[in-house]
């Protein structure tokens, strides 16, 4: 009898041990993972913050918690490559200011687990940004460092040529290789090419991309694109305001030199923002073969409530313009990770960090607005059901992982 009890105890003990193998098992979702070339229904298991297993059918008794996800899309955590999140209390400014927003306010509810700040800080104030925001946020915050020493702190200081120090910028990139993904140039109203050359030099020396924003009214678009290297990124691709030549001409044609730059490997980011996205640019460009490489939102105080709203809304626009759901999600995860040289992110390989999101593709009658307050109608819209960061549930819209109250 005693022997029998011992056997029983061992079996029970072992079953518990087996039962604890996975923290979560996501069952039956449609997995889109570009890196691993998967577009199929798959079970994904998570343990200790990492992807533990991927297979057509993983047994539910191996998991502490099973997430039933049939009918949902499973994507690697989305990456927003263009945000302004150096939030602080300074009025009427982005750097340490009220015009930036807190990343966690917008990220997880849009399926995003990584945001890239687009040069809100420079080498002089990156330390403040890191302490106040990057280290204090649950979202993974990466950043392009502005070539201007004080980042986006106001017109007079940020155009100071002597503060656009390539060596200082490069040294800062070297100090924080895990956070800083490149250099940005974005606000300069002069004619001197020194800021642009310095930005190219600092990023080139670090082997990282240059992000070019549009507020450079004296540089022609053709000159900017000619100086950029394959892998560099231009943002606000579909803007139609007078500070930069729009990529579509008045006859509705994509400028040939823009197409050539695209084909040469320059990455075109959406950078939606409050004024950076127009259907009159995006639709003809898409029809003529220029498909954006990433869906940067240009999230900040003035874009958040505009036609932008959140990154899934921006991605949904492109689904309704004609891209497939798979293509949109692949670009918002793996392609963006590649563009910022962070190939540890944007995929769900076994052993990768468990940053992921479950999305629902709604079918219905929707509308989408651009910066000119014009709209398109659409039949599709993505909504976040659940977001997981480092294997922890950080957003759960309908309680997929919750127990019933009763």
């Amino acid at each position: 009898m005693r022997f029998f009890l011992i056997i029983c105890f061992c079996i029970t003990y072992n079953m518990q041990a087996i039962g604890q193998e996975y923290d979560f098992l996501i069952k039956g979702a449609y997995l889109i993972d570009a890196k691993n070339d998967i577009r199929d229904t798959m079970d994904v298991a998570i343990s200790d913050g990492k992807i533990a297993a991927i297979s057509k059918n993983l047994p539910v008794n191996l998991a502490k918690k099973v997430i039933e996800a049939s009918g949902l899309i499973l994507s690697p955590g989305l990456i927003d490559p263009h945000t302004h999140v150096f939030v602080g209390s300074k009025s009427k400014t982005f750097a340490d200011g009220f015009y930036s927003v807190s990343p966690d306010d917008f990220s997880f509810r849009s399926g995003i687990t990584t945001v890239v700040d687009a040069g809100t800080s420079g080498w002089r104030n990156f330390g403040t940004f890191k302490t106040n925001v990057i280290d204090a946020s649950k979202t993974r915050v990466l950043a392009f460092l502005n070539i201007s020493g004080t980042g986006m702190s106001g017109d007079s200081t940020q155009e100071n040529l002597s503060d656009m120090d390539a060596e200082k910028a490069y040294e800062t990139l070297k100090l924080y290789p895990d956070i800083l993904v490149g250099i940005k140039i974005g606000h300069y109203t002069g004619t001197d090419w020194l800021p642009f050359e310095n930005a190219l030099q600092a990023s080139g020396k670090a082997g990282k991309p240059l992000l070019v924003e549009c507020h450079l009214p004296e540089y022609s678009l053709a000159d900017q694109l000619n100086k950029m290297r394959p892998g560099d990124i231009i943002t606000h691709s579909f803007e139609e305001i007078d500070e930069r030549l729009p990529i579509i001409d008045s006859e509705g044609r994509l400028h040939p030199f823009v197409k050539a730059a695209y084909e040469r490997g320059i990455n075109f980011d959406v950078g939606h923002g409050g004024a950076g996205f127009w259907f009159s640019q995006a639709i003809p460009a898409y029809q003529q073969g220029l498909v954006p490489n990433s869906f940067g939102t240009d999230l900040h105080h003035f874009s958040m409530n505009s036609g932008m709203k959140n990154m899934l809304n921006v991605m949904s626009k492109f689904i309704n313009i004609g891209m497939s759901v798979e293509e949109v999600i692949e670009k918002a995860s793996w392609k963006t990770a590649q563009a910022i040289h962070r190939t540890d992110l944007g995929h769900l390989s076994v052993g990768a960090v468990a940053d992921l999101t479950l999305l629902k593709l709604h079918k219905g009658d929707f509308g989408f607005i651009d910066a000119g307050k014009n709209k398109i109608e659409g039949k599709y819209k993505l909504e976040t059901e659940l977001t997981m960061k480092d294997g922890k549930v950080v957003y759960d819209l309908n309680g997929l992982v919750a127990n019933k109250y009763h």
């Binding site: 989408f368 607005i369 307050k373």
Partner: protein
């Protein structure tokens, strides 16, 4: 009903207003139109003091990112600042926000800097608090907050004294006492009719007396307190809303007076999410849409003595929310990570603040893009 807006104001509400009297007509057949929501319990004193908890700190959130997308046009900050730092709050957040930001002033001079500072009885001045309200900012400061006090009734009594001096209500977050203090004494002896009890459906019996007992019965004095005029506020937060309190209470006929969020960085991604989700949660617990909306519009406007808000009378500022009622299979979480199923969810289609469209989910107010070429 048709509603006409001119400039910042509502100019007409009638069964049929002719289209040719308007520059722009928005067709809203099938949608629900309500006064702009009032979220009576938020923390929006956002700032970069990394030593601080809520005052001038990252736990507070800039309001505009959460309000308009959920139909909210007015928020009431619940004591993030006190008389010592209110002016900083006003300068850096209130004056910079598109959302109308009102505030309850903390009875503690430094507001919610940290739990330790919030115990400092020598920094709880009824006179300075009342003066800041009545002499300095009567249009913004609508009441007083008492919260996070570890001792007896001292803090509440000082807050009520300030409330008497300034003739404004006091909101009490009454927890973190060990052992717990009596909420019956709070409701019947210490608070006045019109004072507000928040975190109504919180469940943390070790440091906060609950309104529903362990047998899931609403304590009789809770109904008495509501009759006496104590206002019960939801203040959902990241730790203060549990179905095991709310579901039995509603079933037994106890409804909160005000539905509010307790918005801050630890609540925003929890079971709360946003005000339209929170109203939907109550609708799926049995409230009608009208009952839920009342508790986020006219009820809070009355509770904070701001009867210029929370309705759409002709002549009032045009703060308006427009909702779709989605039907489907939804779930709603509490802070204990238990859930209820539901079949309806409000979604904010459009928000108008002072006559301007500040949120337009599907472009109801926009022309088609091809019109640019015509």
């Amino acid at each position: 009903m048709d509603v006409a807006i001119s400039g910042k104001k509502i100019i007409k509400v009638a069964k049929n207003i002719p289209e040719n009297t308007a520059k722009k007509t928005i067709n809203l057949k099938g949608y629900y139109v309500t006064p702009g929501l009032i979220d009576m319990h938020v923390h929006v004193f956002n700032g970069a003091d990394t030593e601080s908890y809520i005052a001038n700190a990252l736990t507070s959130l800039p309001p505009d990112g959460f309000t308009f997308r959920s139909g909210v046009t007015t928020v009431v900050d619940a004591g993030s600042s006190g008389w010592r730092n209110f002016r900083q709050f006003k300068k850096q957040t209130i004056d910079e926000s598109q959302t109308r930001v009102l505030a309850l002033l903390n009875i503690v001079g430094t507001g919610m800097y940290g739990r330790y500072e919030e115990q400092d009885v020598t920094d709880m001045s009824p006179t300075m608090t009342a003066n800041m309200i009545t002499k300095m900012f009567p249009d913004i400061l609508v009441g007083i907050k008492s919260a996070h006090y570890w001792g007896d009734f001292t803090q509440v009594d000082l807050a009520v004294e300030a409330g008497r001096l300034a003739e404004v209500p006091v909101m009490v977050d009454f927890g973190e006492h060990q052992p717990t203090n009596s909420i019956e004494a709070l409701f019947m002896k210490h608070l006045r009719p019109g004072d507000i009890f928040t975190h109504t459906f919180s469940y943390g019996p070790n440091n906060r007396e609950t309104i529903v007992d362990e047998d899931l019965k609403v304590k009789p004095f809770v109904f008495e307190a509501q009759k006496r005029g104590i206002k019960f506020d939801v203040g959902h937060g990241g730790g203060a809303f549990s179905f095991r309190q709310a579901v039995p209470a509603i079933q037994q006929g106890f409804l909160p007076d005000v539905i509010s969020s307790d918005l801050h960085s630890q609540s925003m991604n929890s079971g709360f999410k946003d005000m339209s989700n929170l109203l939907s949660k109550f609708m799926n617990m049995g409230l009608t849409l009208e009952e839920a909306v009342l508790r986020a519009t006219w009820n809070p406007a009355q509770a904070i003595n701001r009867k210029d808000l929370g309705h759409l009378d002709v002549g009032t500022e045009a703060d308006i929310a427009i909702f779709t009622l989605r039907k489907g299979d939804f779930g709603f979480l509490d802070i204990r990570k238990t859930k209820i199923d539901g079949d309806k969810r409000l979604e904010t289609e459009m928000t108008i603040r002072a006559g301007r469209v500040v949120w337009d989910l599907n472009g109801l107010s926009a022309p088609y893009w091809e019109s640019e070429f015509k």
